[in-house]
Amino acid sequence: MPYADTLPAQRKFGQTTRPDAWWIQPLLVFLGFSAFIVYSTWAGVQGTNYFLDAQGQDYLSPFYSPELWGRTGHSLFGATQPSWWPAFIKFSPAFLIMWIPAGFRFTCYYYRGAYYKAFWADPINCAVGEPRKTFLGERYFPLIIQNVHRYFLYLALIFIVLLSHDAWRGLWFTDATGKHFGVAVGSLVLIINAVLLASYTLGCHSLRHLVGGFLDSKSKAPTCAKAYSCVGCLNKRHMMYAWFSLFWVGFTDLYIRLCSLGIWHDVRLF
């Protein structure tokens, strides 16, 4: 007799003897991710109001950084859209770069576990019945592609440098007499954004492996041992930083967008 035939039958979707409200956690994750996906897609498609310079600021939305082609002073390659961009598709500078942080988060070990539960109910929560009988895991296409995570990590590390540079530029204000150092609420928003994204990215499981986890004898490589320890420290709070950074990057765009539209006003602290 096949071993599987000796086991209790698979429970139906949602069937469990857990008396607690097991559905709340996946529901909150579903709502949180969905809200971010909807907002970030909408904000990325707009292609406007992602830069603020009304009172001499130099704030660029993280959804649009680095701005490869665009109309702000941050643009790297020119003030228009790239020549190869198809004319029938609306251009937004975000289209060229948003796939990198999106890919990094999509393939992140924490997010994988969370969205497999919340969006795919595989399982919807621990010890709760599933909707499907078949399961391929991450062994086969398409989920085998999750193994590309470390390549998104390499690109995400570059983003930390770029967003830190944006935060630095957010501390300089231009007026008739030139550029002056200062701090406004927007400057703090950009700094917190860079710190949270760095804390999330530098706590990545793949990074922990690459800087020292691959070694069995770390005592022979003290630099790797130290790096492994530092990344491990952030990795213990990876879920927390994943959520905080997700919320804050969206809020940073919203802050700049609403200030740019004149709905909110950026307050200069000094």
Binding site: A4, A127, F135, E138, H205, S219
Partner: protein
Amino acid sequence: MNKTVTFRIWRGDATGGKFVDYTTEITEGLVVLDVVHKIQATQANDLACRWNCKAGKCGSCSAEVNGMPKLMCMTRMDTLDISKPITIEPMRAFPSIRDLVTDVSWNFRVKTKIKKFKPRTPDAPDGSWRMQQEDVDRVQEFRKCIECFLCQDVCHVLRDHHKHEEFIGPRFLVYTAALEMHPLDTEDRLEELKQAHGIGFCNITKCCTKVCPEHITITDNAIIPLKERVVDEYYDPFGWLWKALRPKG
């Protein structure tokens, strides 16, 4: 003060069964296993239940209490809501023998399939080795495992999808990690991990970590690092290039 509580206990065997309600009084300080023993002594003498140390170290009394895999001897009654019946049932990832007892022998068969510890040549003429504490710190966490198999039970790959022939489960991924990351070990288990042991089936739900009574960080410290080693070996062209070009020594 004594309180009256209803326990809904699974009674049956491999051919089937049903939940039976038992109402009994509990006193302060009891654990679920105490109550099961009381019901066994006073109301159901034929109730089958496996137990041994009553101290959370033998891993024998694994069952599902209110739907979650737990050691009955480590589940205090004051952590449960006694206003509703408390459900106790056997683990669902293994064949039922009788009542709360399951046949966990599949796990022991799986263990025999994992390549054994293969140390390097001894460091000293007397046949001994030298290791630094920091090198064994990581694997010592995995040695805390008491083989209660609660992680195997909660893993949906085994519990719901019955992939026992293709996936070794979190317990044996922890066991493999303890060997694979050991500073003296020279064996290579990556091909088996990827193929026969099915590490790719794990989709990182972290349920195994949640139920581990020894608080081993199974997913983050054992399974994901092993997945990363499999990526090194099979899915990372830059890594292959780096290995080929880096200075040896």
